[in-house]
């Protein structure tokens, strides 16, 4: 059998952690090979080694049978290896062409030859059906388009082996389908692909084989067609996982949150949310489904007070909170698990205990007459950490920075739940987490609901929305497209509505 890439017995150690422990991976020509594992398993590290960003401590790499040393990305490029990173590596104020040619610029004399580069990009774009405008600036194009730029970047460098690191995490269902089509095109043209993803469905849909790693160690490589999703999931976490969230029928009570005709400007100073009205009742989880950037952020920020409201009203338990300060809203009973845990959710240079009182430090018993009470804060923190299974090296005194992403998230969830809010807003509460942590957090959300609280769940993951919510509100282009009952809908219907098709319009 001919392998384009063979990574043999790769070992990579970071201070305090062995990210890759004797891992081998072989890629056949013309296959799509999935690489799967929980968070921190070492997938990105392994691929970074193949791409020359890291040097392995041990082990060897062969390309087309020949042993190579990939000391930097240039070497990888020369060997025909390209990578689309988990976080796109594009310069926001460069044009697409400039981004693509960066590092291998064509020149006329001393001067950059942008014209001929743009022409080549246009041709590549046509060949693979990518549809990009070479002269557009990155900051003006959608995330899906940016990903296609990353793909052309590889093609422009004549890559034969393409590595995709979690490419679908940021895409809409429709864009995911497009991407899969593109990937199939690519392998049809003779390229080989390594695809990192957490999503079993995607693996099923496009991959030929799948390699699973766990805590830096290789679990095995399987033939996708012959392996069930459940089996792959088990390989990944080392135990059986249920994909279904166990929950009883919801018992909605009084209206907790009422949003009336709400319009909000986005950061580009145009209406990002247009005349949205919805309500959330006690004892129910309302999910907001939608493609990223279609008004979810504006809605949440308007409710929590992070953004000014252009027009409309927000009521909490019939009290008008439209013009209240953020802190006043928190006191009125709103808790918020923010989208970006590191940017908004935590003060990374504060300890856990300092973070646990981020919204309540000025209340008795945590402080009195302007003086902090360390003991009270410590007790409170210990309680949250115990209840929510937050693990940290030095307990309550650990700096938030030193926690893993999952533990950071659990700490935030714990903090917000502990506020005992009337309304819990959870935005992407499981983003980037592994299935174990996801399961845990979902349980806590349902628990809140069962305690008779209102929960507003915003997520880009359709599965999460469908599994956790009782009702689902779908937004598209800043407008509320419709609200459906979770039990009575399916992925297809919601997906269509996310694309802006109102219920009933499609048939």
């Amino acid at each position: 059998m001919e392998y384009v890439v063979e990574m043999l017995n790769i070992r990579k150690e970071f201070p305090g952690i062995i990210a890759n422990d004797n891992i081998s991976l072989e890629l056949k020509k013309g296959e799509i090979h999935a690489l799967m594992g929980e968070n921190g398993a070492g997938k990105s590290t392994l691929m970074s080694i193949l791409f020359g960003l890291y040097q392995p401590d041990n082990g060897s790499i062969r390309i087309k049978g020949k042993e190579v040393r990939i000391s930097n990305p240039n070497v990888a490029n020369d060997l025909g290896i390209g990578m689309v990173h988990q976080h796109f590596k594009l310069v926001h104020n460069f044009t697409i062409t400039e981004n693509i040619i960066l590092g291998i610029e064509p020149k006329k004399g001393l001067t950059l030859d942008l014209k001929s580069a743009a022409e080549r990009i246009r041709l590549l774009s046509e060949q693979y059906g990518l549809n990009v405008d070479p002269y557009e600036k990155i900051e003006n194009v959608s995330v899906g388009m940016q990903q296609r730029v990353e793909i052309i970047k590889m093609l422009y460098r004549n890559a034969e082996v393409l590595i995709f690191d979690e490419p679908t995490a940021v895409l809409t269902p429709h864009e995911i389908l497009d991407l899969m089509k593109i990937m199939k095109n690519l392998v049809a043209e003779g390229k080989s692909i390594i695809l990192i993803t957490h999503k079993l469905k995607e693996i099923k849909a496009v991959a030929d084989r799948c390699t699973v790693i766990r805590r830096g160690k290789l679990v095995g490589t399987v033939d996708v067609a012959a392996t069930s999703e459940a089996r792959m999931a088990e390989m990944m976490v080392g135990r059986q996982v249920s994909f279904q969230v166990d929950k009883s029928e919801s018992k909605p009570g009084e209206i907790i949150l009422q949003v009336e005709n709400l319009s909000v400007l986005n950061h580009r100073k145009v209406l990002g949310l247009k005349g949205c009205s919805l309500d959330v009742r006690s004892g129910e989880i309302l999910g907001i489904a939608g493609v990223e950037g279609n008004g979810q952020t504006e809605l949440v920020e308007a409710i929590t007070g992070l953004t000014r409201i252009e027009s409309g009203k927000v009521l909490l338990k019939e009290q008008d909170i439209t013009h209240l300060l953020i802190r006043e809203r928190i006191e009125a009973g709103i808790a918020h698990i923010p989208e970006d845990r590191q940017k908004r959710g935590l003060v990374l240079d504060y300890t856990i205990e300092e973070n646990m009182v981020l919204e309540v430090y000025d209340r008795v018993p945590f402080s009195n007459k302007g003086l902090l009470d360390r003991d009270a804060i410590r007790n409170y923190t210990d309680k949250i950490m115990k209840n929510f299974d937050v693990r940290a090296g030095e307990g309550a005194e650990s700096f938030a920075r030193t926690l893993s992403g999952g533990n950071q998230q659990k700490a935030i969830v714990g903090r917000e739940v502990e506020l005992n809010p009337e309304l819990l807003i959870a935005v992407q509460p499981t983003r980037g987490l592994d299935v174990g942590s996801i399961e845990y957090i979902h349980k806590r959300l349902v628990e809140q609901r069962d305690k008779g609280k209102a929960v507003l769940l915003v997520s880009l993951e359709l599965d999460e929305i469908l599994n956790v919510s009782d009702r689902i509100a779908i937004v598209s282009n800043g407008e509320l497209i419709g609200i459906v009952n979770a039990a009575e809908t399916n992925e297809n219907e919601v997906g269509l509505m996310m694309a802006g098709v109102r219920k009933g319009e499609s048939n």
């Binding site: 990105s44 960003l53 990305p73 926001h92």
Partner: protein
């Protein structure tokens, strides 16, 4: 007013040029992602190196000494800038702090050395650059009077460097890479650009240009190294922001500073301006800068990665 303008124009330009070239150095550094508040110190070491070279060489090469001094000043600036480069690029040190250390070190070390050499801490040069009228061009009406009379060769040197800088920054592969390093070093890194080298070169350019700025002061109007450039390095930094990190922007900003402070300086002897309280003229450039900073704050073009240490492979 016209005669006043014509009269002070050459001096305004003489004052503008060191600011301009220093800010241009800052531009290269910052657009590669390294904040350099050590410009002031780099100017000082440039002026020190240049003064020393010129003072020592002038007796031997009365004509060439100034030009050798310019080269020496740029080299001194480069050598000193390596301290900043090492700290901020190799060690990921806080760039503001490293720059502050550079400023302090420059002021102290050069005077220390000068004291050991001259006994006083100052180094005086015999003579600087002559002022020349550009033949033909200077006889063009208006423009000739303003731009081509009483000019220093260093002015033209700096303007040529400005033009080349613009070309390099926007039209060459190096410029593209440099700007990428300042906006998104990881993108550049994964595209195979050696971020370390690009930043090193950029910081060294800032050292060379600031050194040139320092020596231009010396050979045009001060004639003496004194261990200080009286805040011009910081002013260059302000001009860089005022000029929105663009070559032509900083040309405008530094010219504004040059003009405003020249007016403030000579207002005493200009009957037309003597009625305005001096304090107002003196603070005018600074107040306008503050206002400009507010106006531009909405659309800041600051390089996104400026000030952030780059760690290879950091997620």
């Amino acid at each position: 007013m016209w005669t006043i303008l014509v009269q002070i124009f050459p001096y305004a330009i003489a004052f503008t040029i060191p600011l301009l070239i220093t800010a241009l150095g800052g531009l290269f550094s910052e657009r590669s992602g390294v904040v350099n508040i050590g410009l002031e110190g780099l100017m000082v070491v440039g002026s020190f190196g240049g003064a020393l070279a010129i003072a020592k060489l002038q007796p031997v090469f009365p004509n060439g000494a100034v030009w050798i001094g310019i080269v020496v000043a740029m080299l001194t600036g480069i050598v000193f800038s390596l301290l900043h480069a090492f700290a901020s690029i190799n060690l990921n040190a806080n760039q503001v702090i490293s720059g502050t250390a550079i400023n302090m070190l420059a002021g102290a070390l050069t005077v220390f050395l000068a004291r050991n050499i001259t006994g006083s801490g100052n180094i005086r040069i015999g003579s600087g650059l002559p002022r020349i009228d550009i033949p033909i061009l200077s006889s063009i009406p208006i423009v000739g009077k303003l731009f081509f009379t009483q000019t220093y060769a260093s002015t033209w040197l700096v303007l040529v460097i400005l033009a080349i800088s613009w070309y390099v920054l926007y039209k060459t592969a190096f410029g593209l890479r440099l700007r990428a390093c300042g906006e998104h070093p990881h993108a550049a890194d994964s595209a195979g650009v050696n971020v370390f080298w690009v930043r090193y070169i950029a910081v060294m350019l800032s050292g060379a240009f600031a050194g040139l700025g320092g020596v231009v002061i010396l050979i045009t109007y001060s004639g003496e190294f004194t261990g200080s450039v009286s805040g011009l390095g910081f002013l260059a930094l302000a001009a860089l922001i005022f000029g929105q990190w663009k070559p032509l922007g900083i040309l405008g900003a530094t010219f504004f500073f040059g003009f405003a402070s020249t007016i403030a300086n000579v207002s005493q002897v200009m009957p037309a301006l003597a009625s305005i309280p001096s304090v107002i003229l003196k603070v005018f450039p600074y107040v306008v800068t503050l206002i400009a900073l507010i106006v531009f704050s909405k659309s800041s073009q600051a390089p996104r990665a400026a000030g952030e240490p780059f760690e290879h492979g950091k997620r």
